[in-house]
Amino acid sequence: MRLPDLLALASRSVFEARTRTLLTLLAMSIGVASVVLLTALGEGARRYVIGEFEQLGTDLLIMLPGRTETTGGPPPLFGQTPRDLTIDDSQALLREPSIIKVAPITVGNAPVSHANLEREVTIVGSTPDFFPIRRIRVGVGRQLPDIPADRQSNVIVLGAALKQELFGRHNPLGRWVRVNDRRFRVIGILAPGGESLGTDLGDMAIIPVASAQALFNSPSLFRVLIQASAKEDIEAARQAAIKTIRLRHDGEDDVTIISQDAMLGTFDRILRALTYTVSGIAAISLAVAGILIMNVMLVAVSQRVAEIGLLKALGGSERQVLRLFLTESIMLAGAGAFIGIVLAGLGILLVNQLYPGFPFAAPLWAPLAAVGVALSAGLLFGVLPARRAARLDPVQALSGR
C-alpha cells in the first residue's frame, strides 16, 4: 500500500467517528498543552530568579556572621557567634588587593514619620558602596555621604514609595523625618521602580551603618557585601576575607561566605529539578490520553470487524491491517499533540500579555518532548488494538459471527 493511500484511508476512518475523535483529541491536546505550559512556568521561575541574581553581579561575595557548621540553635544562615562581625572588620577587608568594594549592612524595621504621617518600613544601614554593589540608583538628591563607616550621621535616603506616602508631591530634600526617636535629614530619593531579590526598593530607607547600629542597638552587622576586583579574583577575595577575619577574631573561622555564583548554581539546580518534576507529572496525563486512544481504537476494531474481514478478502495482509490501525492511532495522537502545542502557544502569549515582567516561555525541548511522548503513546497503545484487528479471522469477520 502506498503511503498517501494509507494516510488517506486512515484519516477517512478517523473523521468518520467524529465524536470519539474529538474527545480523544481533547484529552491528548490537554495533556500536551499542560506539559508545555507547566514546563514554561518552571522555566520562567528559573529565569526570573537567575535574572534577579545576575542583576546583582556575579563578582559578589556575601559574608554572614556565624558558621554553616554551627550546630544547634537557629538555622545556619542566622548562626550565632560569640564575636560580633563589626564595622571595623568590614573596613579591614578593604586592605586586601582582591577586594575593591565593601558594604557592611545592618537591617531593621522602624516607623518613619513626618508631620503626622507615619509608615513602618525596612531601614538599611550601610555605606556609599552599597549603592553600586546592589546597583541601586538615586533619583533625586545625593546618596549617603562619604564619611568613615563608623561615624554616625543623621541623614537618610528614602525609597520612592515611602517619599510619596510621607511627602506627597512636595520636595522632601532637606526636610527632617523621625525614625523611632531620632531625627534624620532627607538627602536623596531612590529612583522609582525596581526590586532587588524580591525586596521592594520603594518601601525602604537607607541610613549610614553606624547610625543604624545605634538606632537598633545592635553591635553586630547583619551581613557584609564584598565585591571582588574582578570575576577571576573571586576565590582570592574569599580566601583573603577568611584570613582577615580569622586574624581579627583570635584565629576563629566564625563567618560564612556565600558566593553569588554558588547561590545562583543552587537555585538553578533546584528550579530545574522542579521544572522536570512538574512536567513529568503533566506527562502522566499523556499516558492517560494514550490509554483513551487504546480504548477508542478497540471500539473501532470491534465496530469494523466486517470491514477488516473485507480488507483481508480483497488481498490485505495482516501487516497492512496492522499498519492501517496503527496509523489511525498515531494520527489521533499527532493531531491531538498539534492542537495541544497551539493551545500552549496561545496560553504562553496570553500570560506574557498579562504579566509582561515574568519571563514565561517554554524551552524548546518541552514541545518536542511532549509531542514525542504523545506519538509514542499513540504507537504504544495503538499496538494492541491494531494487532487484534490484524489477527481477526477473515471468515468469521465476514460472516459477522
Binding site: G315, G316, V395, L398
Partner: protein
C-alpha cells in the same frame, strides 16, 4: 485452474470436532462456471472460503494455478487473493464511508497501484457495469442491485481469473437478482472462472457444472448436459 485433493476441514466446537469438509476432490478448469448447492451446514461456504484462500484446509492439498497453497505464509496467501481471486458476498460488504468509485478502487489501493492507473480502471469498470453516473454515490445512496454491481466491480477490478460469489442474490429482489446473475455470467463468458454458492436452485441450474454438498462431502457433481 483449481485442484483440490482429499481436502478436509475440521472445526473445534466446544469439545467436539466438526468436519465441515470431508475428502473433497475437485478439479476446476479455467473459465468454468460452477454452482455449489446444498442444505445449510453442508460445507458450501467452507469450500468457497478454502478455494478463496480465506481458510486453510486441515488436511489435503489445494493448488491454485499449479501453486501449492497450503504451505504458503499469510502474506503470500494475501498476495494470491489480491491478484487472482475476486469475492462477491451476500451482504455486499461495501465500506459505507467510501463512494462507489472508492469502493471499487480499494483492492488497487491495497495492491499499491498508482492513482492515475486506478482512476482509469475504475472508470472502465463503472462504464462496463453501467454505473457511470453513480461513481460518487455512497453505498446508502444506491439500490441493492446497484450495490451488488459495485461489489462485483470491486471483485473484478484487479482482473482476477477466479470469481467467487457466496449467495450473491440472497439480499436482492427477483429482478435485481436476475440482473446480477446475468452480469456474472457475462463475466464468465469473457473468460473468468465463476463459482456461485446458492440456495436458489433456479440460479444453481444455470451453471454448466453443478455440485451438491451434503455433510461436508460432494454428493453429486454433474455437468449441465448430464441426465438428471
Amino acid at each position: 485452474m483449481i485442484e483440490l485433493q482429499q481436502v478436509e476441514r475440521d472445526f473445534a466446537v466446544g469439545d467436539e470436532t466438526v468436519r465441515a469438509l470431508a475428502d473433497v476432490n475437485l478439479d476446476i478448469p479455467d473459465g468454468d462456471y460452477l454452482s455449489v448447492m446444498g442444505p445449510s451446514g453442508s460445507g458450501k461456504s467452507t469450500l468457497l472460503n478454502v478455494i478463496g484462500l480465506l481458510d486453510r484446509p486441515t488436511r489435503g492439498e489445494y493448488r491454485l494455478n499449479r501453486t501449492p497453497t497450503t504451505t504458503l505464509g499469510e502474506e503470500q496467501r494475501a498476495a494470491l487473493r489480491r491478484e487472482h481471486i475476486g469475492f462477491v458476498f451476500q451482504a455486499f460488504h461495501l465500506v459505507a464511508r467510501l463512494s462507489a468509485a472508492e469502493n471499487i478502487a480499494l483492492p488497487m489501493v491495497l495492491a499499491g497501484i498508482a492513482p492515475p492507473e486506478r482512476e482509469r480502471r475504475v472508470g472502465e469498470v463503472l462504464e462496463s457495469l453501467d454505473l457511470g453516473d453513480r461513481a460518487s454515490h455512497r453505498p446508502d445512496q444506491l439500490s441493492g442491485g446497484q450495490r451488488q454491481r459495485v461489489a462485483i466491480g470491486r471483485a473484478i477490478v484487479m482482473r482476477p481469473g477466479l470469481l467467487l460469489a457466496d449467495e450473491p442474490t440472497g439480499n436482492l429482489d427477483q429482478h435485481s437478482g436476475q440482473e446480477v446473475v446475468q452480469l456474472l455470467e457475462k463475466l464468465n463468458d469473457d473468460g473468468i472462472t465463476l463459482i456461485v454458492v446458492t440456495h436458489d436452485s433456479a440460479i444453481g441450474r444455470r451453471a454448466r457444472r453443478r455440485i451438491r454438498m451434503l455433510d461436508g462431502r460432494i454428493d453429486s457433481d454433474e455437468p449441465e448436459d448430464a441426465p438428471a
